[in-house]
C-alpha cells in the first residue's frame, strides 16, 4: 500500500515539475554586453494543443537547435491552447522584454485579431524570423466534374448556391480566406460562397461522401488521398510548382491564369520590446537552423518549403499581408 502511495506521489511530483519547468522566467534583458547569449533555458510557446502544425514546427525547431548544437541552452516547448492562439499570445504578451520567451505563429496571428478574437496582433510582438512556408490546396472528389480551378469557378459564378466548400477553421480564418482570396482573383462573387466549418477534422470525410464539393486545406493533407486516387487537387496557392513526388503534379492557381497566391508562413516571435541584441542573436540562429541539413530533412518529411525572413523583412511582409486580409474581410462583412 505504502509503495503504491509513494509511487503516486512521485508521479504527481513529476507532472508538477514538468508543468512548472520553464514557466516562470522573469523578464531580464542583459544590457551592455555587445553579444547577447542566452544563459537560461528558452521557452517556445505553441499556442495550440499537441500534434498540430504550430506544435510540430516548434518541436522540430527545438529538436534541431539542440541536436545540431546551434543553441546551447535548454529549449522547452510549452503548449498553451485556447482561442485559436489568443490564450498563448496573451501569455507571451505578458512577458514583455524577456529574451527567453518566444512563440511560433502563422497566418492566424493576422486573422484572429482581425476577427476580433484576440486583443493582441502581430504589431504587439517582436518578429524574430520566418522559417518555413506551406501552401493551400483545393481538392475535390476524384470523380467530380471539374478538372481545373477555372471550371470550378465558372460553375460558382453561374450558381454559387450549388457548391459547398468545407474547411477546418471558422469563417474569416485560414481555410476560408485562402479559398476566398483565390476565388476573388478569378472573379467569383465571394460574398456568395457557401462555406461550412468542420472542426472535428472530418472535412475530408465530407468530401469523400459527397456532402460537400470542395475541401480547402493544406497541401500535405491531400497527398495520401491523391496517391490512393480518392481525390484530385484542382490547384495549389504557391507561386511556382512544388517539388516532390505527387506534389509536382499539382497545378498552381497562377498557371491557370488566376493571379493570386496564398502562403501559410510559419515563424517565431518574441514578446513586446524584445531586446535588439537578443533578436539579432536569434535571427542568426534561425538562419543557421534554416540552412542546416537536419532541418532540410524535416522540411522534406512534412512537405514544407524553405522561407527565411529576418526580423525586418518579416515585419514588412506581415504589415502588407494584414492589409490584404483586412480588405478581404471587409468585403465579406466579417471584419470588426
Amino acid at each position: 500500500m505504502k509503495k503504491v502511495f509513494i509511487g503516486v506521489v512521485f508521479v504527481v511530483l513529476l507532472i508538477f515539475s514538468a508543468a512548472c519547468s520553464g514557466g516562470d522566467e522573469e523578464a531580464s534583458g542583459t544590457e551592455g554586453s555587445k553579444e547577447w547569449k542566452p544563459e537560461k533555458p528558452i521557452e517556445i510557446v505553441a499556442p495550440a494543443g499537441a500534434g498540430g502544425g504550430w506544435d510540430t514546427t516548434a518541436r522540430m525547431a527545438a529538436k534541431v537547435f539542440t541536436e545540431e548544437e546551434i543553441i546551447d541552452s535548454d529549449i522547452g516547448v510549452v503548449n498553451k491552447a485556447g482561442g485559436g492562439g489568443a490564450v498563448g499570445w496573451a501569455y507571451v504578451a505578458g512577458q514583455e522584454g524577456s529574451p527567453y520567451n518566444m512563440f511560433v505563429a502563422s497566418p492566424p496571428l493576422l486573422f484572429i485579431p482581425l476577427n476580433g478574437q484576440s486583443e493582441y496582433g502581430h504589431e504587439d510582438f517582436t518578429p524574430i524570423a520566418n522559417v518555413i512556408a506551406d501552401y493551400a490546396a483545393f481538392a475535390v472528389a476524384a470523380d467530380a466534374k471539374w478538372d481545373n480551378l477555372n471550371e470550378l469557378f465558372d460553375d460558382m459564378k453561374k450558381d454559387p448556391s450549388s457548391i459547398t466548400v468545407v474547411g477546418t477553421s471558422s469563417p474569416g480564418s485560414m481555410d476560408h480566406i485562402q479559398f476566398v482570396q483565390i476565388a476573388k482573383a478569378a472573379g467569383v462573387d465571394v460574398t456568395k460562397i457557401k462555406y461550412v466549418s468542420d472542426q472535428d477534422g472530418v472535412g475530408l470525410t465530407q468530401l469523400l461522401n459527397g456532402s460537400v464539393d470542395v475541401f480547402s486545406t493544406g497541401v500535405s493533407e491531400t497527398v495520401e488521398q491523391v496517391k490512393a486516387g480518392t481525390i484530385k487537387v484542382l490547384g495549389v496557392t504557391s507561386e511556382e510548382r512544388l517539388e516532390g513526388e505527387v506534389l509536382e503534379d499539382f497545378p498552381t492557381a497562377k498557371e491557370q491564369g488566376i493571379d493570386a497566391t496564398f502562403v501559410n508562413w510559419r515563424g517565431f516571435f518574441g514578446p513586446p520590446n524584445m531586446d535588439e541584441e537578443a533578436v539579432a542573436y536569434y535571427e542568426e540562429k534561425f538562419k543557421e537552423l534554416s540552412d542546416s541539413e537536419a532541418f532540410a530533412d524535416i522540411r522534406k518529411q512534412f512537405g514544407w518549403d524553405e522561407m527565411y525572413m529576418n526580423s525586418e523583412e518579416y515585419q514588412q511582409f506581415l504589415d502588407e499581408k494584414k492589409g490584404e486580409i483586412q480588405s478581404l474581410l471587409d468585403e465579406l462583412g466579417l471584419g470588426e
Binding site: 500534434g51 490564450v87 476577427n115 468542420d198 475530408l204
Partner: protein, 495 residues
C-alpha cells in the same frame, strides 16, 4: 492479394520479442495514466511521443496504440472507485460502477469492468481485422444530416437517464446545451457567451465539467454526510469473484455492445464517449428491470465498459485506412505517426503492411496483457478506498486539479472546475440528475454543428434530413424510442 502475407508479417512484428516488450510498456503506461482521475489517453500519448523519437516505427506505433487502449481500459478504475472519471469514455461507467463500489462491491465492479473491457477489446480487434478494409466505406458514409440524426437518437435517452422527475432531467439537459454554446461558433466565427474573456473562446473543456459535476460534487457530499452509516460499506472491498448469475447478466450486454461500440467507434467524431452512452441507454431500454440502473446494476456497468473499449479499436479504422482522425485522441495519434515518418491513409495497408497489421495484431496481445495486469492488481487498487476519508477526499481534489491543469496549463480552468463543483453539489441537493447535463453537453455541440452544416449545404431546406437514407433510419429509431415509453405509460394507466 497479399493481405494474408500482410497479416502474417503483422503478427511477426507483434509477436517478436521487441513487439511484445513495447506492447507491454504501452499498455502499462496507458493503464497507469488512464487510472489517474483527469489524465486520459491524450495526455498519455502526448507524453510518449518524444520517447519514440528515433525508434523503429512499427514497435513505436504498437506501443502508442497500447498506450491509447490501455488508458481507456484503466479509465474505469477512478470512475468506479472515486466517481472521478479520467476519460470522457468512462463517465457512463461511473453511473453504475460507483454505486456498486459504495455498496461494498468494489472488487466485483472492477472485475466486471476488466472482463467486459477485455471482451469488448478483443471482439472488436477481430472485427477490425476482418472488416477494416470494408469498413472504411462505412466510416465515410455519414454526412452531416446522418450525424445530426445520430446525436438526436442519443438525446432521446435523456428521460431514461433520470431517476425520478423527468422535468428535472430535462432542465438539467437544457443547462448542458446552454453551456456547450460558450465559445467561438464554428460556422460563423462569432463569439458566444464569452463575455470578452479569452479563456472562454474555445468553450469549456469536457473534463472540467465531468470532474466538477461528478468528482467535486461527490467530495462535497461526502464531507457533508460524514456520519452517514450507509457509507461504511464503501470501505469494504468485497470479493472480486463473480457468481454464475453475474456472468449470465454480463453475457448479453457484452456481446451486444462489442458490436455496437465498434460500429460507433468507426464513425469519425462519435468515438468511445458516445459509444458508451448509447450502449448504456440501449441496455437500459432493453432491460426488464430498468429501475436497477444507476443503483449498481451489473448490466449497466458491463455495457459502457464493453462499448468504450470496442470503440477504441473501431477508431483505428478511419485512422489507419483513411488517415482521418475521428477524435482529439486519434488526432494526436496521427501526429505520432507523422513524427515517425508513417503516413496513415488508404495506402498504408499496401505500402507498410507490417505496420498496419502489426498494430492490429498487437491489440490481441495488448488486451490479454491488460487483463493479466489488471485482474491481480484489483485488490490493491481497491484498497484506495481504505485510505482514511479525509485523506482520500484531499487526493481526489488534488487529482482533479492536476487533471484539469494538465489540459491547458491555465489557472482559469481551475476556477471553472470549482464553479462546476459547486453547481454539481447544488444540483444534487435539489436532486437534478447530472448525467443528462453531461449527455447534452457531449452531444449538443456536435448536433448543433451538424444541423447547421446540413442546412448550409441544402440551402436551408429541411428535406435534407429525410433524403439521406442513414439519417432517415436514425430519425425513425429516435422517434420510436421517444414514442414507445409514452405508449407504455398510457397503456399501464389504462390497465
Amino acid at each position: 492479394m497479399g493481405s494474408l502475407e500482410g497479416i502474417i508479417a503483422g503478427f511477426q512484428v507483434a509477436f517478436s520479442l521487441e513487439g511484445l516488450l513495447f506492447v507491454m510498456i504501452g499498455v502499462f503506461v496507458g493503464t497507469f495514466i488512464g487510472m489517474m482521475p483527469g489524465l486520459g489517453p491524450i495526455s498519455a500519448i502526448a507524453v510518449m511521443i518524444p520517447i519514440t523519437f528515433g525508434m523503429d516505427p512499427a514497435p513505436a506505433l504498437v506501443m502508442m496504440a497500447g498506450v491509447y487502449y490501455g488508458a481507456i481500459f484503466g479509465g474505469s478504475t477512478s470512475s468506479i472507485l472515486l466517481n472521478a472519471p479520467g476519460v470522457s469514455g468512462a463517465v457512463a461507467t461511473a453511473f453504475d460502477g460507483y454505486p456498486m463500489a459504495q455498496q461494498g462491491k468494489a472488487g466485483k465492479a472492477l472485475a466486471i469492468a476488466a472482463i467486459s473491457s477485455f471482451i469488448g477489446g478483443t471482439v472488436s480487434v477481430i472485427l477490425l481485422m476482418l472488416l477494416a478494409p470494408m469498413l472504411s466505406s462505412v466510416a465515410i458514409s455519414f454526412g452531416p444530416p446522418a450525424y445530426f440524426a445520430l446525436m438526436l437518437m442519443g438525446l432521446t435517452a435523456i428521460s431514461s437517464l433520470s431517476e425520478g422527475s423527468t422535468i428535472k432531467a430535462l432542465i438539467s439537459a437544457v443547462a448542458g446545451f446552454m453551456i456547450v454554446t460558450i465559445g467561438i461558433d464554428a460556422q460563423t466565427g462569432t463569439q458566444r457567451f464569452t463575455f470578452g474573456n479569452v479563456n472562454l473562446l474555445e468553450g469549456i473543456d469536457f473534463l472540467v465539467i465531468a470532474l466538477g459535476l461528478f468528482a467535486l460534487a461527490e467530495v462535497c457530499t461526502l464531507i457533508i454526510k460524514r456520519k452517514d452509516l450507509s457509507q461504511e460499506n464503501a470501505h469494504k472491498l468485497g470479493s472480486m469473484r463473480l457468481s454464475k448469475q453475474d456472468f449470465k447478466d454480463m453475457s448479453g450486454p457484452v456481446t451486444r455492445h462489442s458490436f455496437l461500440g465498434f460500429i460507433l467507434g468507426v464513425l469519425p467524431g462519435a468515438g468511445a464517449t458516445i459509444a458508451s452512452f448509447i450502449s448504456y441507454i440501449t441496455e437500459k431500454k432493453l432491460s426488464k428491470n430498468p429501475e436497477e440502473f444507476g443503483k449498481g446494476s451489473v448490466k449497466g456497468l458491463a455495457a459502457p465498459e464493453t462499448a468504450n473499449n470496442a470503440a477504441t479499436s473501431g477508431a483505428f479504422v478511419p485512422l489507419l485506412s483513411l488517415g482521418i482522425p475521428g477524435s482529439g485522441t486519434t488526432a494526436v495519434m496521427l501526429g505520432a505517426f507523422l513524427v515517425l515518418g508513417v503516413q496513415p491513409g488508404p495506402l498504408l495497408m499496401t505500402d507498410r503492411p507490417e505496420i498496419f497489421w502489426g498494430i492490429i495484431a498487437s491489440m490481441y496481445i495488448g488486451n490479454v496483457f491488460l487483463l493479466i495486469l489488471n485482474l491481480p492488481l484489483i485488490p490493491y487498487f481497491a484498497k484506495i478506498l481504505k485510505i482514511p476519508r479525509p485523506l482520500l477526499i484531499s487526493l481526489v481534489i488534488m487529482f482533479s486539479i492536476i487533471g484539469v491543469y494538465a489540459i491547458s496549463f491555465n489557472t482559469f480552468d481551475l476556477y471553472m472546475l470549482l464553479l462546476f463543483g459547486v453547481v454539481g453539489f447544488v444540483m444534487r441537493l435539489f436532486s437534478f440528475p447530472a448525467p443528462p447535463f453531461i449527455l447534452a453537453f457531449i452531444l449538443g455541440g456536435m448536433m448543433e454543428q451538424a444541423f447547421r452544416q446540413s442546412l448550409t449545404i441544402s440551402n436551408g431546406s429541411l428535406t435534407v434530413f429525410v433524403q439521406d437514407p442513414i439519417a432517415l433510419t436514425l430519425l425513425i429509431v429516435a422517434l420510436l424510442s421517444f414514442v414507445f415509453p409514452l405508449i407504455r405509460v398510457i397503456r399501464s394507466r389504462r390497465a
